[in-house]
Amino acid sequence: MVELFGIPPQALFGQLLLGLINGSFYALLSLGLAVIFGLLNIINFAHGAQYMMGAFVAWMMLTYFGVNYWWALLLVPLAVGATGIVLERLMISRLYHLDHLYGLLLTFGLALVIQGLFRNYYGVSGLPYSIPAELSGGTNLGFMFLPTYRGWVVVASLAVCLGTWFAIERTQLGAYLRAATENPSLVGAFGINVPRMITLTYGFGVALAALAGVLAAPIYSVNPNMGADLIIVVFAVVVIGGMGSILGAILTGFGLGIVEGLVKVFYPEASAVAVFVIMALVLLVKPAGLFGRVA
């Protein structure tokens, strides 16, 4: 195997792996957005900021309290998810009777506040978070070199995505959730506490973003702006996939990451805009999104 389509396989597979990693984050984040949108009917603009918080809280726990990566993986989503629950109770819950756009505007404001605060205290230069010892190093697969941590990110993200899908589509609790998405008042009439379910769902969505942040911390430098640009790409991913389906969000996320990686190999200048071009094409051909129901 010398060359594929005139590209050395090292470069091709290297970019594919990068794409798969980006895709892991797209999938985790768009999954969180889809779960929140399903029940709350708002687009959580603060999602990028909460992803950034995840990375930062992991860094703080390690630096100030010596909490290692594995505990951070568990504790950070709980902590950041808890802040999400507070936000939902104090602010977001006041907007459910209004146009959905107000939810977008509110969470945009929250994102500005969160990012601004972190910028004030930590600057924009970025803080290092080292890869845990168990996951450092890598394996030579013959056709490419696979850093262990990157492989771990892809596997962990897949596992979390599929776990979430299973919980929502195949469990009792998930059935309540789906029912409440369809008709909250009817579900409430059956004695289920829908407002609490909404609160917990928002907390869960935020926790997913924070988990993505912890996974990202060792790969990207931890800095206050890390979520801001990413979230806009994730919005495009969500528009392409449509938010109607959990599995759709996961597939679109990974798929677009891979496509972006391929574009980087064949036409690097366009890689930053590839997702947006695909969004334009999808809007032309199938406006409701690949997995979307007609709204």
Partner: protein
């Protein structure tokens, strides 16, 4: 076709021509702006006027068309780049540079608008934001935008060959004339039959469709108008500051102009002007606080959405029981 006034405000829109208090407010504002440059720094005032026009353009789309564009920086920024480039590299006179910048924004608005109106509500906001980000990445990489540096030291030139715009005070009155023209155009659009249909679509889209209106055409038309006026604001801004940079196309700019509109009062005529003056004033006088300005803006966003959805002018309008 009968022109329906909003239920709470009988007879206000049914009269022919502008209500008298609107004319009064317009003249009062114009009077203030004629005196203002002798009291305040003209460049600051020109910035306020550019953003007032920018916010009013967004308000035309958001407040009267019911479409939230979260990517208006794209039109503002592309117009700034084109007018800066044509003025500096091609050496065009300012009137042509502004015209070309505005035209570029119109074309971009047509392209993005035609795609964006295929989705509604919250998706529309996300689509416009995503396309604006695409324009941002394009501006970052395209050879003519100067990348991180932007286009600097843009000559202001001579308007029509004999009005020297290098003088801040001269340029101030030119900007005042253009922005006043833009505002009057928006006022005319809102109060035309076209504007009435627009409001009908905003309030009840399926019903407007069933009445036989080609809803998509109206949406696209107002989108292009809004993008064009946002472009006009951006083109002037590039010449005032002699600079077009990535800040102009960044999503934070889109957010800022939404904030101005929200704070001043969505769907009011004078709200965006007030919102722009407050936000630009805040940025100007609090500049030494650095990133705290972002935090403050975010907090204003949160407070406006939670407690103050009518905006400043909306509240005043409710007090005096007249639409402003």
């Amino acid at each position: 076709m009968a022109v329906d006034a909003p239920a709470t405000l009988p007879n206000s829109a049914a009269k022919v021509g502008a209500p008298r208090h609107h004319t009064l407010v317009f003249f009062a504002l114009l009077l203030i702006m004629l005196v203002a440059p002798f009291v305040l720094y003209p460049v600051f005032l020109m910035k306020v006027m550019c953003f007032a026009l920018f916010a009013s353009a967004l308000n035309l789309l958001l407040g009267f068309g019911g479409l939230l564009s979260f990517g208006h920086a794209a039109y503002f920024g592309i117009a700034a780049y084109v007018s800066a480039y044509t003025a500096k590299v091609w050496g065009l006179p300012p009137e042509l540079a502004i015209l070309l910048g505005t035209a570029a924004a119109a074309v971009l608005g047509l392209l993005i608008g035609a795609l964006a109106i295929r989705r509604q509500g919250i998706y529309f906001a996300m689509v416009t934001l995503a396309f604006a980000q695409m324009v941002y990445f394009f501006s970052l990489q395209a050879p003519f935008t100067g990348g991180e540096d932007g286009i600097q030291a843009v000559p202001r030139g001579r308007l029509f060959g004999f009005i020297d715009l290098a003088n801040d005070l001269t340029f101030y009155f030119v900007v005042l004339a253009i922005v006043t023209g833009g505002m009057l155009a928006i006022y005319r659009i809102i109060h035309s039959p076209f504007g009435q249909v627009l409001k009908a679509i905003r309030d009840n889209e399926p019903r407007s469709t069933s009445l036989g209106y080609k809803v998509d055409r109206y949406k696209l038309a107002v989108f292009v108008m809004s993008a064009t006026l946002a472009g006009l604001a951006g083109a002037i801004k590039a010449l005032v500051f002699q600079l077009a940079s990535l800040t102009d196309v960044h999503w934070t700019m889109s957010g800022e102009v939404v904030l101005m509109t929200l704070l001043g009062g969505m769907g009011t005529i004078f709200g965006p002007l007030v919102g722009a003056a407050v936000i630009i004033g805040m940025q100007n006088y609090f500049a030494s606080f650095g990133a705290w300005v972002t935090v403050l803006q975010g907090m204003i966003f949160v407070i406006s959405v939670l407690l103050f959805r009518e905006g400043i002018v909306g509240v005043i309008s409710r007090w005096i029981k007249k639409p402003l």
